[in-house]
């Protein structure tokens, strides 16, 4: 495969890889490094004429495995744990915008604290819009397990958001 062809193909889904890596590793730098390492491995695999059903699903699976390995190795211990995407365009005069950002950050934090499997299923389904078949392939689990994990994750997140709001109302 030619380099340009590979780049064109990967650019379609590399943002999804980055978001999944970011969800697992939290740090933006660690996520970028992880995605680049995965892309290099993918480039090697492609050049070895490996046959994939779907290069995107394979790349996502590699990203998931690589990031979980990174977590196990605790290689990213010393990285920043700040999600700076939601820090942009801060306007103190705009209370609504600031409130929304806080709420978004809260939901993000709640999602980040979910168990790994639930976190990844929710990321892949609700943010990346993958089908259950694709999620099962990427995470190497059954479709039923994917649904169960998603259900638990959604319930947990909604419950925590409600709890937080109730606490905020009480303290006001």
């Amino acid at each position: 495969m030619k380099t340009t062809h590979f780049i064109e193909k990967v650019q379609i889904f590399e943002a999804k890889m980055f978001r999944l890596a970011r969800r697992i590793l939290v740090s933006e730098d660690a996520a970028k490094d992880a995605v680049q390492e995965v892309l290099l491995k993918l480039w090697e695999k492609v050049n070895q004429n490996s046959n994939f059903n779907s290069i995107e699903a394979y790349a996502m699976q590699m990203t998931k495995n690589h990031c979980l390995d990174q977590l196990k190795l605790k290689a990213n211990q010393n990285l920043h744990l700040v999600h700076d995407n939601f820090e942009a365009e801060e306007d103190e005069s705009d209370e609504n915008s600031s409130h929304n950002e806080t709420r978004m950050q809260l939901i993000k934090n709640v999602m980040d604290k979910l168990p790994e499997q639930q976190k990844m299923v929710m990321q892949l389904r609700d943010i990346e819009n993958y089908s259950f078949t694709e999620i099962a392939e990427i995470l190497d689990i059954s479709e039923v397990a994917a649904r169960v994990n998603l259900s638990r994750a959604r319930k947990s997140v909604i419950q925590k958001i409600k709890k937080n709001k109730a606490y905020e109302t009480q303290t006001k």
């Binding site: 590399e14 943002a15 970011r22 480039w43 943010i127």
Partner: protein, 160 residues
């Protein structure tokens, strides 16, 4: 909100929580949650969907795959440049070493030649000197034989 829509929203939310909704249903749920009349009653769920929308926009700011190949290209270019510089350096170093070597051997050859010539000249001079000495000695030998004859003749008269 119409009671029918309210019922639909609640049903969809219940199915959403159980992970039973498909994409079309989730789209419909999102639409219903965006309605002004639902924003108060279902604000948490609406926020969750808003978060999904925001999170979907998150990118690495640059194309990571393009970055890799750009870096690889830069690395290749720089290593090519440095290998070219080394190539040029070794080329000129080799030329210099060969030139210095040739000069050294030419100088050495010249020195040897001068030394040999001097030795040959010294040999010829010595030979010439020895020849003169030999000639002188031959002349002296003739005179000695005359003295010998004189001595013999005188002895006849001294000791008859």
């Amino acid at each position: 909100m119409k009671p029918k829509q309210n019922k639909e929203l609640k049903t969809l939310l219940a199915r959403f929580e159980k992970g039973e909704t498909n994409r079309v249903e989730e789209e419909r749920l999102n639409e219903l949650l965006q309605l002004e009349e639902n924003k108060n009653n279902f604000s948490d769920e609406a926020e969750l969907f808003a978060y999904f929308k925001t999170a979907k926009k998150e990118t690495a700011n640059t194309s990571l795959v393009q970055e890799i190949f750009d870096k690889t290209q830069q690395f290749q270019n720089s290593s090519e440049n440095s290998s070219n510089a080394f190539h040029v350096f070794y080329k000129y170093a080799a030329i210099l070493i060969i030139a210095l070597g040739m000069l050294h051997f030419a100088y050495q050859y010249q020195q040897d030649k001068i030394q040999k010539e001097e030795a040959r000249m010294a040999y010829l001079e010595t030979k010439k000197a020895l020849f003169i000495i030999s000639e002188e000695m031959n002349n002296a030998t003739d005179k000695l034989s005359e003295i010998e004859d004189f001595t013999q003749q005188t002895q006849k008269y001294i000791n008859p």
